[in-house]
């Protein structure tokens, strides 16, 4: 369970959010460009410190500035898939997936077993020895997802994971994400621009505007007049 209440002063506005994500739930975070979506993920990951508030994950406090609590990034056990997937281009697919396990000092046999399982699960069998720089966008996203869940995260976060994918890859990554979250029963936050993504993968939606909550609820109840919906209906 993720419980987040935090404030952070940004250049143009104050980020001030309160939300929770239950285990097995996918929260879709929406908002126009520069509304604070990525900063929200970065704050949860520990890349950015909040000015005030409290971020708790499964009962453990990750950040609480007033008490001087700031768990280091590497100790948070958060699987974070960045917008460009950020697969390490100099490493092979299997080395990418093994990276977090090796960093955590797991025995070699355990790493090999876990990587093998994930490679099969993500349909990456034929690509395991291929350098990540040679992968397509969809393949990179699958590798990034496998790498993120390899560390058995307590929270999965994905920043616009479908933005550069074709329809088929988008569908595949959505299905994989849904399955992973259901099986691992972890909270998941996906940042996206497309309203359609909310309906297809989201259990709940949080629309933010200039760092504040504009609307929150089930995708089915999403009003047509919130910032993001208006923008999308205006576009051709």
């Amino acid at each position: 369970m993720l419980d987040a209440v935090f404030q952070r002063k940004l250049r143009d506005f104050d980020l001030d959010l309160t939300f929770s994500v239950r285990p097995g739930e996918i929260l879709v975070l929406m908002g126009s460009n520069g509304s604070g979506k990525s900063t929200t993920l970065n704050t949860l990951a520990g890349l950015v410190s909040p000015d005030a508030g409290c971020i708790r994950l499964n009962g453990t406090t990750l950040s609480e500035p007033l008490k001087g609590i700031h768990v280091p990034i590497e100790d948070r056990r958060i699987g974070y898939v960045f917008q460009n997937a950020a697969v390490f281009p100099h490493l092979s697919v299997s080395e990418n997936i093994a990276y977090g396990l090796r960093a955590r000092g797991l025995p070699r046999a355990e790493v090999a077993e876990c990587v093998g399982n994930l490679i099969r699960r993500m349909n990456l069998d034929e690509l395991s020895t291929v350098k990540a720089s040679r992968l397509s966008g969809g393949q990179k996203q699958r590798v990034a997802l496998a790498r993120a869940i390899a560390i058995h995260p307590s929270l999965l976060m994905m920043d616009e994971p479908f933005s550069s994918l074709d329809l088929e890859s988008t569908r595949a990554v959505k299905q994989l994400t849904r399955t992973v979250v259901d099986e691992m029963q972890i909270p998941c936050i996906i940042v996206t621009h497309r309203v359609a993504d909310c309906h297809e993968v989201g259990d709940n939606v949080l629309v933010i505007s200039s760092g504040k909550k504009e609307w929150g609820g089930s995708p089915c109840d999403m009003p047509g007049n919130c910032t993001v919906c208006r923008c999308q209906s205006d576009s051709p």
């Binding site: 460009n84 950020a86 281009p89 960093a103 560390i151």
Partner: protein
């Protein structure tokens, strides 16, 4: 009318080709002729007999060892410095940036003189080192210090620029996966910037090897102690022309090798910005 038009077009194109060819040829010749002249002035027999001259061997050995030591120091200190400098905002950063670039435009003789004023026997710091029995000026240590002062900007600028342009999402990803900052640097940042760092290191080595002005001012010209190859060339011009010629050719060969390594190191460089 049409034929005279196409004729003048043909002339214009021919003139353009001739103009371009003259331009390329004149620049190439201007750069290549002095190098070629070196090879024409010697014979293989003379070259190889001069190679066994103890002064040549001593200058070659001193140049190579001091340049390698300078390079190692520049890499070991310069890499973490460039990383910290590129990733942090601190008061006076612009001044530090300027100081990094200063040796590139400063006349090497001035650099040598400045080092002498600071570390010389009566220098601001040198007098204390001297009192502790550690003379710096006119020693092999001074050769290394002069090389570092003059050549380090080549590496620092390159490393700084690489780290500034590097896509930090790779580092953030590694951190969220559980890697410490040091592990992230060693396994992600360093391998992904290695090509550029190698080219900066090779350029630094080349500059250190060719250093003359600062060395002669700060370290002097003592055979076996501070007489590097460029200094031996200078002495050779006055007293032993064959020796000067041989060392010059050696330096040309090494410089060519350096440029080839730089090209190879940067050929397959992929942008990770």
């Amino acid at each position: 009318m049409r034929s005279s038009g196409s004729l003048s077009e043909k002339y214009r194109r021919t003139l353009t080709y001739i103009g371009a060819a003259v331009l390329v040829l004149s620049v190439t010749l201007y750069l290549a002729l002095p190098i070629v002249a070196l090879f024409f002035r010697t014979t293989p027999e003379l070259f190889f007999s001069s190679l066994s001259n103890p002064q040549v061997i001593s200058a070659l050995w001193l140049s190579l060892t001091t340049s390698v030591i300078s390079l190692i120091i520049v890499i070991l200190v310069g890499t973490p410095f460039a990383y910290v400098h590129s990733r942090s905002l601190y008061p006076g950063k612009v001044i530090v940036d300027t100081l990094i670039d200063l040796p590139l435009v400063l006349p090497p003789a001035v650099a040598g003189f400045a080092l002498l004023v600071l570390y010389g026997r009566m220098g601001l710091l040198g007098q204390y080192f001297n009192m502790m029995g550690i003379p710096i000026a006119f020693t092999t240590l001074a050769v290394i210090m002069a090389q570092i002062f003059v050549a380090s900007p080549f590496y620092l600028r390159q490393a700084k620029s690489l780290f500034e342009q590097f896509d930090q999402n790779y580092e953030y990803t590694a951190r969220t996966l559980g890697a410490s900052p040091v592990r992230t640097f060693l396994t992600i940042t360093l391998p992904l910037t290695a090509g550029g760092l190698v080219s900066g290191a090779v350029m630094t080595f080349g500059r250190a090897l060719g250093e003359f002005g600062a060395t002669i001012m700060f370290a002097g010209n003592m055979p076996g102690v501070t007489q590097t190859m460029p200094l031996a060339v200078y002495i050779g011009m006055e007293s032993n022309f064959a020796m000067g010629l041989t060392i010059s050719i050696l330096l040309v060969i090494i410089s060519f090798a350096i440029m080839i390594i730089v090209r190879l190191a940067t050929r397959n460089e992929v942008s990770h910005a």
